[in-house]
Symmetry: C2
Amino acid sequence: MYTLYSMQRSGNSYKVRLALARLGIPYTLVEVDTLQGESRTPEFLAKNPNGQIPLLEVAPNRYLAESNAIPWYVAGGTTLAPEDRIERAEALQWMFFEQHSVIPNIGVAFFWLALIKGGRDLQQHALDDWMEKGYRALGVMEMHLAKNPYFVANRFTIADIALYAYTHVADQCDFELTRFPAVRDWLGRVAAEPGYVAMDWQPERLAAAQ
Amino acid sequence: MYTLYSMQRSGNSYKVRLALARLGIPYTLVEVDTLQGESRTPEFLAKNPNGQIPLLEVAPNRYLAESNAIPWYVAGGTTLAPEDRIERAEALQWMFFEQHSVIPNIGVAFFWLALIKGGRDLQQHALDDWMEKGYRALGVMEMHLAKNPYFVANRFTIADIALYAYTHVADQCDFELTRFPAVRDWLGRVAAEPGYVAMDWQPERLAAAQ
């Protein structure tokens, strides 16, 4: 059975949890609090020298890192992972787009504004830039989703999972989604997929703890 | 025949040129100067709404973006693209690592320090952060390459191409590679691959033009 090293409030970890749930694959969950340095201990660095979660133990002492790579492994051979050559490349295109156009703006805004008490004051200088670039990314997604029900291959795939993770909490960190109706419809379609699980990042409990 | 929209001095564009050269695939090259706004014209945005190069026209009016996705398409079915499920995921792991740990530090430093006249003064405030994170990424690569000749599957793949693009010019933007002997040996192995082409970004000519 897989062991997944994950942090509940991490959108990147959620991608893997959502893929495993959708596929009905059981796994052992190990919670790693990166804010407490738990991904920088010698023990964890021996598993992943880059010191990041999520991390999946795919076989005894064989570890796979990266939130957008792990789903290609666990979903390999299922309809969630497009194997057609052009569809595979298009899925990857959107997953790399997620890495450089969604995470550094919407993902980082979610971290500082929704998860970290006092984060808004600490990052005041960066907010305008996150908003501008995050809205630009949402605009690119809107254009595509206005003409397609999903990102690739006209069906739900791991590209949707990758983009859903931070987009579905964008409204928790100042982004206004009303002007992106196709994105909102797509968010609804993903949430209606069989096997869907919520991210369950529990803002009330997190806020109280910090 | 493919048409590749590329910028000569872009490491991301170089990844695709190197993959196509290694595979002996002919293509039509269209030079796009992003610094002159040529990737933000209405004509270009109609091809790639995200306004970035490289961009490959894979069939009439069908475009594929992202420097780390395009190689999966052009190399699909060859030994350059690992198809084994775990090896494919490991190749992707390293390509996503390249996106968030190499590009924003070594890639961005190369842009400002090697390509843009006066860039060092403009970005003085960011240099220490690029150096620290860039060296950390080189350290992760060194650990892996000290035990493996290539990043994945014990052979040259598109994961090596992705990581080579900016690592091989790191010494052009302040990074000192003497303390990374395994990385240097690997750089030499990549440059000795059949079909290798140099990035040919011509610093003298660029500097004179700016």
